[in-house]
């Protein structure tokens, strides 16, 4: 049986992220939820989700900082950034820091699903490459 795709959703807007998680679950995706950067990093260490959907604008530990820290220990995890601003500046900076891609919030669920599939493929490829070179 095909394994479920697992994704960690990180956003300080609890109602938004919980609802998004429910919608992804309906579409057969296993979801984890964190509402701050510290909780996100803990879940990443414990659960190692292949994909993280990360809000850039969070109080405390911001999205870009979470991205930098998670890439140190888990370089294969693919991160999709959700940028809230009218500007694409944060998204571009996130990609420079190793993010897979960015989407403007609010996002269409179809666009997010498509981006997650692409990210999962990138994760699978990078994991095989890493496994093969050992």
């Amino acid at each position: 049986m095909e394994k479920k795709m697992k994704v960690l959703l990180v956003d300080d807007e609890a109602e938004f992220v919980q609802t998004l998680a429910e919608r992804l679950q309906i579409r057969g995706i296993e979801t984890l939820v964190a509402i701050d950067g510290i909780e996100a990093l803990r879940l990443i260490d414990e659960e190692e989700p292949p994909i993280v959907v990360l809000d850039v604008m969070m109080p405390g530990l911001g999205g870009l900082e979470v991205l930098q820290r998670l890439k140190l220990g888990h370089p294969n995890i693919q991160v999709i950034l959700l940028t809230g601003h009218g500007s694409t500046k944060d998204g571009i900076e996130g990609m420079r820091l190793g993010g897979f891609d960015y989407l403007m919030k609010p996002v269409r669920i179809e666009d997010l699903m498509k981006k997650m599939e692409e990210a999962y493929e990138a994760f699978s490829t990078s994991s095989i490459t890493e496994g093969g070179s050992e």
Binding site: E13, E15, F16, T19, E22, R23, G84, S87, K105, P106
Partner: protein, 216 residues
């Protein structure tokens, strides 16, 4: 208004519009979840399913409309961040067409932006340039016939970047029009024009006095 005051206003508007967008994002996902749940069940199992799906779809559509408005507000707020910044005239004119849409609609005049074939970057005061373009659009909206269509379009005239506002199907001029300095009702800030380093030309055409704003 001093630059400090402008920056303060921009900061507050940007922050509030960001919050509104978060609210809209949550409403959008909640409406989407309602649709998902309703669509999980066959029609016969859920009373009024079609009406509920339609209502949830309407919420989503209105949220998308709200998001566009808030994005416009957010971009406008960020134009107040810095007294001088590099801007792409294609982006700025598209934004101006969006910001002035309601005024055009009230005058029963169509308004759209047409991009230049390549990015046209200039360094300027973004907020004051927006004020100038809004004033120029106001003048054109006052003078245009009802039912006509205005176009705001970046261009190059004699090699220099410019913004042309005129009536479709006219196009930006290739050479500088002979009339220099648009009437004073355009922009009651002589110092403002000097600050922006622009010249303004009146390129009238049938039924409308078009405007060409040329960057020195």
């Amino acid at each position: 208004m001093s630059q400090k005051e402008i920056a303060f206003m921009g900061r507050i508007i940007a922050s509030l519009s960001h919050e509104i967008k978060n609210v809209l994002a949550t409403i959008k996902e909640s409406a989407g979840l309602m649709e998902d749940i309703l669509n999980l069940r066959p029609e016969t199992d859920a009373p009024h399913q079609a009406r509920l799906v339609k209502a949830a779809g309407n919420i989503r559509k209105q949220v998308d409309r709200g998001v566009d408005v808030v994005m416009g507000l957010n971009c406008f707020a960020h134009s107040m961040d810095e007294p001088m910044a590099q801007i792409d005239l294609n982006e700025l004119t598209a934004q101006m067409a969006f910001l002035m849409q309601r005024f055009a609609h009230k005058s029963a005049i169509g308004l759209s932006a047409a991009p230049y074939s390549e990015p046209l970057n200039i360094v300027t005061d973004p907020f004051r340039l927006e004020m100038l373009l809004a004033a120029a659009l106001d003048v054109c909206l006052t003078r245009a016939d009802k039912g006509s269509r205005l176009v705001i379009q970046p261009c190059r005239v004699e090699g220099r970047p410019a913004v042309w506002i005129g009536a479709a199907p006219d196009e930006p001029p290739d050479t500088l029009p002979p009339t220099v300095a648009f009437p004073e009702d355009l922009f009651a800030l002589k110092g403002g024009l000097e600050h922006l380093q622009v010249n303004i030309y009146d390129c009238g055409s049938a039924g409308l006095h078009g405007v060409l704003i040329l960057f020195k």
